[in-house]
């Protein structure tokens, strides 16, 4: 364990995501205000904050599902610009899991998983299927491989979605409120998979309200409000001794029940 920590500390100096003064507007509304954030290799960042605070917008900017209008975003050494080649290169290195799963309903689970490796990575079908089965085992639903997404429960669908992103063997995983659309009894099965993934050393940015999960896996907590990053701190400091009043208010609101 200690050697793992040391190894991770050594990698710390290597930033894989760097956001500098990122600003974004929707029409007149400013969704992101001067966002500065650096994520190192292997770091697990949990982003929280009230609705409409820009959490999702920020992580969606990282794989260019949203376009930022000012500032710079560098992912894995590539700056995000209008260059389509760069965008596609970054997207294939950055896996994303959505709140509403967004599985492809017309494809079976295994086809959902093999599609991108076969068509983006040009992997032979057989290899792609092997990898798919391996990741389905890791998310503990290999027996669902030949079903269609509509036949699975929400928790199973979200685990398939995680496996689908992992099949591209990304360097970074983004989670956009992965458990918010789930029934309570299914949240745990998804979080368990995410905890395992975190233990494997994956670089992760997770937008979530699951504070228990945050305490377990986060290296860094980020609190956002009204489009700004209000506080960046390690979880011990963040939960015990937050510096900002807005963070205190938010934590008191979500931790009381």
């Amino acid at each position: 364990m200690s050697s793992q920590v040391a190894a991770r500390k050594a990698e710390r100096d290597e930033p894989v995501i760097r956001l500098v003064d990122v600003n974004k507007w929707y029409g007149e509304f400013q969704a992101l205000k001067n966002i500065n954030l650096t994520v190192n290799r292997g770091e697990r960042v949990v982003v929280c904050g009230p609705s409409g605070s820009g959490k999702s917008t920020m992580i969606r900017c990282i794989n260019r599902l949203e376009e930022h209008q000012r500032g710079s975003i560098v992912v894995d050494g590539i700056e995000l610009t209008d260059n389509l080649k760069n965008i596609e290169a970054i997207r294939s290195e950055v896996g994303m899991v959505f709140q509403s799963f967004n599985l492809f309903p017309h494809l079976s689970v295994v086809d959902n998983l093999t599609l991108a490796p076969m068509w983006v990575r040009k992997m032979p079908k057989k290899d792609a299927e092997e990898i798919a089965m391996e990741y389905l085992k890791r998310v503990k639903i290999p027996e669902q491989a030949f079903k269609y997404p509509g036949q699975l429960s929400g928790g199973q669908q979200q685990r398939v979605a995680i496996a689908r992103a992992l099949c591209m063997q990304p360097k970074i995983m983004l989670f956009d409120e992965p458990t918010s659309a789930l029934d309570p009894e299914m949240i745990k099965e998804v979080l368990d998979v995410m905890v395992e993934l975190a233990e494997s050393g994956m670089t992760m940015i997770v937008v979530t309200h699951e504070m228990g999960f945050a305490k377990t896996v986060a290296d860094t907590m980020v609190f956002m409000d009204e489009g700004e990053i209000v506080e960046i701190a390690p979880p011990s400091v963040f939960f015990e001794n937050p510096s900002s009043d807005r963070t205190k208010l938010f934590l008191s609101q979500i931790l009381t029940h």
Partner: protein
């Protein structure tokens, strides 16, 4: 937060189908009773559906009476007193019933138009090859590129050779002499083969973020939809050649097919656009997030779902396109309907046009009904194992 839950496609079925197959088995074994078998007797059905109010009862009686009257009349005319076969039109004149003999007498010019009489066997073979190819194409086990593509190339080459001739000792027949059912098939197939890809491109183009692509698509769709098909055919055949450089000529049949294809495509594009609009944003985002480029995303993720959603509308326009082939009469081509009209000018047989047209109607109906049945079957295939 910018994300939205997708109301129907993802969350709702997840809730409904949350019980896994095994759990469902267990529930059935332990708790549930079998559902009550509902048997509605014929009498109860009649009372519930046909005689549930005085007005309904009266309407039922009236329509049954009319139906019986027409049924008997048609049976007497069409079967009891009908003349089934004769070479002599006078036999038909004396009969009180239908003269189905006219079909036996005239079926060849009706089905094959102006095509040289002695070469009709070529058309029969061409039709068999063509319909065979279509039947194979419609069967799912053959839905593989390495079967369909070569098969269609060979089949179109064979059909083309048979229709045109001019090689292998076959007599050359100009396209303007093609007629009847083969002409209908050529026009219909050409319309679909050219029209469908154009329709998809126009539908995508209309939703494109590139202003030029969008403008071209919108202009083409709106202008072509605003013009009757007859005008488009007239322009394609009579006006378009005026703009070609001297000595250059594009085959008339090709011009007609392209005109019809563009007309078909502009309507079909709007149907497909409806399907595209029904695809949740999350599908695009998931595909993009995986690194799929625009064309791969469209081909693998978006179109399969969109076409499935708008399949009924698509089939609607395909059937319309089949019947629209009869418009070529205004530019002097003899499809099956026009060929029949001209055959029925024969003074000996002209009074039996009803029977002839009934026959043509039956031909149209068989093809359109088969298309419709097939599309239902496709919907059933697509629904198998997929609830979303």
């Amino acid at each position: 937060m910018t994300e939205t839950t997708i109301p129907t496609s993802a969350t709702a079925p997840a809730g409904q189908t949350g019980v896994s197959g095994m759990a469902l088995e267990r529930i059935r074994e332990n708790v549930s009773e079998p559902p009550p078998t509902e048997k509605i007797g014929a009498l109860r059905w009649l009372r519930r559906n046909l005689f549930n109010s005085p007005i309904n009862s009266a309407l039922t009686v009236i329509f049954l009476a009319l139906l019986a009257y027409w049924g008997v009349a048609f049976f007497e005319w069409g079967i009891l007193n009908a003349v089934w076969y004769t070479k002599d039109s006078n036999v038909c004149r004396e009969a009180t019933g239908a003269c189905w003999a006219v079909i036996a007498e005239k079926h060849r010019p009706m089905l094959f138009g102006l095509y040289p009489y002695d070469e009709h066997w070529r058309l029969v073979i061409a039709l068999v090859v063509y319909l065979g190819t279509v039947c194979v194409t419609l069967a799912p086990p053959f839905w593989k590129k390495y079967i369909l593509v070569p098969m269609w190339i060979v089949s179109l080459a064979v059909v083309g050779t048979l229709l045109w001739g001019g090689v292998f000792g076959l007599k050359y027949v100009d396209a303007t002499d093609w007629g009847g059912l083969p002409l209908t098939m050529v026009l219909f197939t050409g319309t679909l083969l050219f029209g469908f890809p154009i329709a998809i491109l126009l539908a995508l183009g209309r939703r494109s973020r590139l202003p030029a692509v969008k403008a071209i698509s919108v202009t083409l769709i709106e202008s072509m939809r605003g013009v009757p098909l007859i005008t488009i055919l007239f322009v394609a055949v009579n006006v378009f050649p005026l703009f070609l450089p001297e000595g250059m000529d594009i085959n008339k049949m090709l011009r007609v097919v392209i005109g019809m294809a563009i007309f078909f495509a502009c309507y079909q594009a709007e149907v497909i656009r409806g399907g595209l609009q029904a695809i949740p944003r999350g599908q695009y985002e998931a595909a993009e997030a995986l690194g799929l480029g625009y064309w791969r995303m469209t081909y693998k993720i978006i179109l399969p779902q969109a076409l499935r959603i708008c399949l009924p509308g698509i089939v609607n326009h395909i059937i319309a396109a089949f019947k629209n082939t009869s418009f070529v009469l205004i530019i002097g081509l003899f499809d099956i309907l026009t060929a029949t009209t001209s055959v029925m000018q024969d003074p000996l047989w002209r009074r039996f046009f009803v029977e002839a047209y009934l026959f043509v109607a039956l031909v149209y109906f068989v093809f359109c009904f088969a298309l419709s049945k097939y599309s239902h079957q496709v919907e059933r295939w697509l629904n198998e194992g997929r609830r979303f």
